[in-house]
Amino acid sequence: MGRIFMITLEGRVYSCKHCFTHLALLDDIISKSFHCGHGKAYLFDKVVNITEGEKEERMMMTGLHTVVDIFCVGCGSIVGWKYEAAHEKAQKYKEGKFILERFKVLGPDGGNYLAIQESLVGGSSDADDA
């Protein structure tokens, strides 16, 4: 396989649970009040070492959004999604930002996160009406 291009982050890093690839910094968290099928999710301003999937229209808790799923470049596992467009004005602040599912990443202290047993409908959930 070719040499994967990986950015190394410095500081308090969230990394991929499976291959430890750096994904985002704690300082780039915008909100911790999001939810996904596996429990908590955080909204990040910037995420690295990911590839994007196809654009989709998804109905979330706060309305219809255009999103792309994001995957870790190291192992290809899905780690969250990115908001491409929000259809309601109040949700526009999410555009261009990323969601990392807490269950899919290791925290800065290396801590894992146990998923909530309930599985919500549809993969994504959304929230945070800040």
């Binding site: 396989m1 070719g2 040499r3 994967i4 291009f5 990986m6 950015i7 190394t8 690295v48 590839t51 994007e52 470049v73």
Partner: protein
């Protein structure tokens, strides 16, 4: 001049016979008037056939200037009579009469008269008059010295050259040459030599450069314009990749596509056999480079050590490491006497071949995944120092320059002449930067695909006129460097093409390496170069023409 076509130069038009003119016009009355006026022209040679000020379909060429440079070209080629005839027939003089007088005076050595004429030409710039006078009087001075008329030379220097009050340094040199005649020979500019007649022609050329071009038409102006046009045609030719392409004046130059390597000549290891297996690295090897003398190899393990190997014996000659740290990249100095390496604490270290550390630049100089290159003069070290910036570090002057981008930089490639840098970005763009004096973004190339891997690109072709790159869609992309146009996207590989390398000595050969575990050699569609032999053991090969 009625219905006559306006897009031919006046001289050509006048040479049309009256029969030919009939076909262009639409009535006998017109023919008569044309014949009449050409007869008039014969009778009045100095009258310009007024009316048309410009020639050419775009109307930007002034006819008077056009005829003058043609006349000048005729004279330069030695066709004196043709030149004189042109001046007479067109009624446009190459030089005004006073300039002709001036030129004759210079060539005959009438120095004082020529300086006087100089003042009468009607030049507005005082400096030009003074500089031209200086040149003429300098010639007078040297000719006196040649004839050993030292007192006359001195008088010229004192009373004529010095009062001009320009070029004092030269005046001092001239006075020195009186004092020591042997010094005279070193003081003289290259234009001065033993034959005086030749010097005067050279003097005239120097004066020509000084005077405004409208006053005295510059030498070889027409040739220069034609060469300029040919140069532009060549630059615009997107497929120009062969030295022996002759450019004719009769048609605009345009190469066919067939000069770009686009046929897979060889795939993988036909005719190549394994010589050595170099073992020793514990971690994956991220880079391999040949020494400048081609006898040794330098390899780097990812965050491990750098090893130097003898290529013929396969023996490991040296290991370069730093306690507690790992090497991330490596390279040779252009003279092969030392090596340099990026370290995972962001510093760059230099080592003698024997392992002694020469220098270490601490601080943010390189990243864990970063290319590291040195210019062929050994002066600048280039490295990706931040996610969106490339550092150009001048080793001697200790000056740092930065190329700043908006996107993350994944890799870069230095041109052979050290003038350009090709920067690969995360967002699938390749940027061409000029790094010679000021750092300037010159071009962008798009079309290839990159999402996960480091994809490399390179310069190539005749005078590095092309940019080639790998791509994750398994095609090899080739752009014309100057125009930025995509010329080729070569299919053939069945996996991501990670890097490409254009043969530095053969502009018709390109190699590409891919995740499909093959290396392809691309060349021209030359039947004799196709490989037909078969191999087992899973090596792919190509029968040409893909």
């Amino acid at each position: 001049m009625g219905g006559v076509e306006d897009d031919e130069p006046a001289s050509k038009r006048m040479k049309l016979s009256s029969e030919a003119l009939i076909h262009l016009s639409n009535g006998s009355t017109v023919k008569e008037s044309i014949v009449g006026s050409s007869r008039d022209l014969m009778a009045r040679p100095l009258q310009s056939d007024g009316g048309e000020e410009v020639v050419g379909s775009k109307g930007v060429i002034k006819k008077v200037e056009f005829v003058r440079i043609i006349a000048k070209a005729l004279y330069s080629l030695g066709y004196i009579r043709s030149g004189a005839h042109l001046e007479e027939e067109s009624g446009i003089a190459l030089h005004s009469s006073i300039i002709n007088v001036f030129m004759r005076q210079v060539l005959e050595g009438d120095w004082d008269e020529s300086v006087a004429t100089l003042h009468n030409i009607g030049l507005t710039d005082e400096m030009i008059i003074k500089s031209a006078s200086f040149l003429i009087l300098e010639q007078k001075f040297f000719e006196f010295l040649d004839e050993e008329k030292v007192m006359d030379a001195l008088k010229t220097l004192r009373t004529e050259i010095s009062p001009l009050c320009i070029n004092h340094g030269r005046v001092r040199e001239l006075s020195l040459s009186i004092v020591s005649p042997s010094h005279c020979f070193t003081v003289r500019s290259p234009k001065q030599n033993t034959s005086r007649a030749r010097s005067r022609t050279k003097l005239l050329e120097e004066l020509q450069k000084l005077l405004p071009p409208t006053v005295m038409v510059p030498e070889r102006r027409l040739e220069h314009l034609v060469e300029q046009a040919l140069g532009l045609q060549r630059d615009a030719c997107m497929f120009h990749n062969s030295l022996d392409e002759e450019i004719s004046l009769f048609a605009d130059h345009q190469c066919a596509r067939d000069q770009i390597p686009s046929y897979a000549l060889q795939v993988d290891a036909n005719g190549i056999s394994l010589k050595h297996k170099l073992s020793g690295h514990q971690k994956p090897v991220s880079s391999v480079s040949w020494s400048p003398d081609d006898h040794q190899l330098l390899t780097c393990g990812v965050e491990e050590v750098v090893r130097r190997w003898d290529a013929s014996s396969g023996e490991c000659l040296s290991v370069y490491e730093k306690a507690g740290l790992g090497m991330v990249s490596c390279g040779w100095s252009p003279d092969g006497k030392w090596i340099f390496s990026g370290v995972n604490d962001k510093s760059i270290s230099l080592w003698e071949l024997d392992g002694r550390e020469l220098e270490c630049w601490k601080g943010q100089h390189t990243l864990k995944i970063s290319d590291l290159e040195i210019t062929s003069d050994g002066k600048q070290i280039i490295s990706i120092c931040r996610e969106t910036a490339i550092l150009l570090l001048d080793r001697e002057a200790k000056v740092e320059r930065f190329i700043e981008e908006d996107q993350t930089i994944t890799s870069f490639s230095l041109s052979r002449d050290n003038r350009f840098l090709l920067v690969n970005l995360l967002n699938q763009e390749i940027h061409l930067w000029s790094i010679e004096d000021d750092l300037k973004l010159v071009s962008k190339y798009r079309g290839h695909k990159r999402t996960r891997f480091i994809i490399r690109s390179c310069f190539g072709g005749l005078e590095q006129a092309f940019v080639a790159s790998g791509s994750e869609d398994s095609l090899v992309y080739i752009w014309h460097r100057g125009t930025g146009e995509l010329i080729e996207a070569l299919p053939g590989h069945s996996g991501a093409v990670n890097c490409v390398s254009w043969n530095p000595t053969n502009p018709h050969m390109l190699a590409s390496a891919s995740d499909d575990r093959t290396i392809r050699i691309w060349g021209l569609n030359n039947l004799s170069a196709k490989q037909k032999d078969t191999h087992g053991n899973g090596i792919h090969y190509c029968n040409g023409g893909t």
